[in-house]
């Protein structure tokens, strides 16, 4: 590993305070975190510990009060609103519990939308959208509208939209929501697979079983990173027990 150069996401001593004076709420207090390609990091912690704030800052949806957030080496603080919006559309995929699919667009059009908003031509955008739908196992359902899909299929379409194109940072906030355990597992499988092909991922979850899919689990408490699990060895090492 070569320094911080290859980091997809880097948080440097990030603070986020809401309000001021005695009523100020310190959502994050000096959090530093580096996520590299091929790495999925799970963020766990009780409600109000700062998990969602961390994700919003990492995705450029919110700005830190103090400290620095970088995506692929680019300090987000140096970007204006347009630059930030462009980076979000091109490089960052978001998977939320709330799917936010547009009911008047087909599955394929929903997935192609971020690319089209970014000025990619219709045909190219559709080809990329079809590739993303294939990646999530729904190549044949592109013509369906969201209300013609099951909950699990809708979630897959939302994931395809988050993965479409060349996003190298995937941010997921409780992505398995109300899905049953098998369907939820399939969602994590997709996230894991994209990360294994070179993306970096952050998974915010309160479910230990879901965090188990990560390479590293970090624990937040009262806005501070309090602990991190040791990195995992290879499957061979795990089986032989030699990594302990």
């Amino acid at each position: 590993m070569s320094g911080m150069d290859d980091a997809v996401l880097e948080l440097r001593a990030v603070h986020r305070t809401h309000g001021s004076g005695p009523a100020a709420v310190h959502a994050l207090r000096g959090v530093s975190l580096v996520v590299r390609p091929g790495e999925l990091v799970a963020v766990m912690g009780p409600s109000g510990s700062g998990k969602s704030t961390l994700l919003a800052l990492a995705g450029g949806l919110d700005r830190p009060t103090r400290g620095d957030v970088r995506v692929e080496g680019q300090p987000l603080g140096a970007l204006d609103r347009r630059g930030l919006a462009q980076l979000r559309r091109r490089r960052i995929g978001y998977i939320f519990q709330q799917l936010n699919l547009l009911g008047s667009l087909s599955a394929l059009e929903n997935v192609a939308l971020p690319l089209e908003l970014d000025g990619v031509g219709g045909r190219r955008a559709r080809a990329a959208a079809l590739a993303a739908l294939t990646e999530v196992g729904l190549p044949a359902l592109g013509d369906r509208f969201p209300d013609q899909l099951s909950g699990g299929q809708q979630q897959r379409v939302a994931i395809a939209r988050a993965l479409v194109g060349e996003r190298r940072l995937v941010l997921a906030d409780e992505p398995t929501g109300a899905l049953d355990s098998q369907t939820g597992e399939a969602v994590l499988h997709l996230l894991r697979r994209r990360v294994d092909t070179g993306a970096a991922g952050i998974l915010v979850t309160h479910e230990a079983r879901h965090a188990g899919w990560a390479d590293r689990v970090v624990f937040l408490r009262d806005g501070v990173l309090v602990d991190t699990t040791a990195p995992l060895g290879s499957v061979e090492q795990l089986l032989s027990g030699s990594d302990r």
Binding site: H189, W213, V217
Partner: protein
Amino acid sequence: MSIRHGLLALLERGQMYGYQLRAAFEESTGSTWPLNIGQVYTTLSRLERDGLVRPLPESEAGQRPYEITDAGRADLALWFATPISRTDRPRDELAIKLALALTTPGVDVRSVVQAQRSATMRTLQELTRLKYGSDRPEDMPWRLVLDSMVFQAEAEVRWLDHCESSLVRHQPNGPTTHPPRPPDPGATDGARWVDEEARR
């Protein structure tokens, strides 16, 4: 579960000698329960004593296979038909440790909780990684064993989360360590904590 019933179940597939039994046992538990060959032979000789298996003539290579008897089959069927009682399992050292941490002066219970959570979470990651790597149809028995361990680890983390939030409510702004205190002739701290939880 006992190694005894594990070996009986394997012999129900057909006759096997010691090393084959060991390999098959480890394969069916995904190497999560390593056996040494001594344990296999000790168990076989007890099974033989109890009439549940019988030794067959040695092969030319000097290996002595065993086969299951009718009594062994009956014993195995009874084992499969009988649910495993929770009280048969070893006492939970972790629960006892936390209960003691609560009542021992100078112990930061939240650190004990976090250290355990981190370790259990790491185990969960390992188990998930192993599961992710075994998706062939023939891996099914091994995946079920892994799932069982995944759910147990998950339950432990949830219980630790519960302990932590109970502690926070119990002492919202107080120190995380217990100051030394005179012995309480009534309930222990731990029991009182449980009582107060129950009253909420």
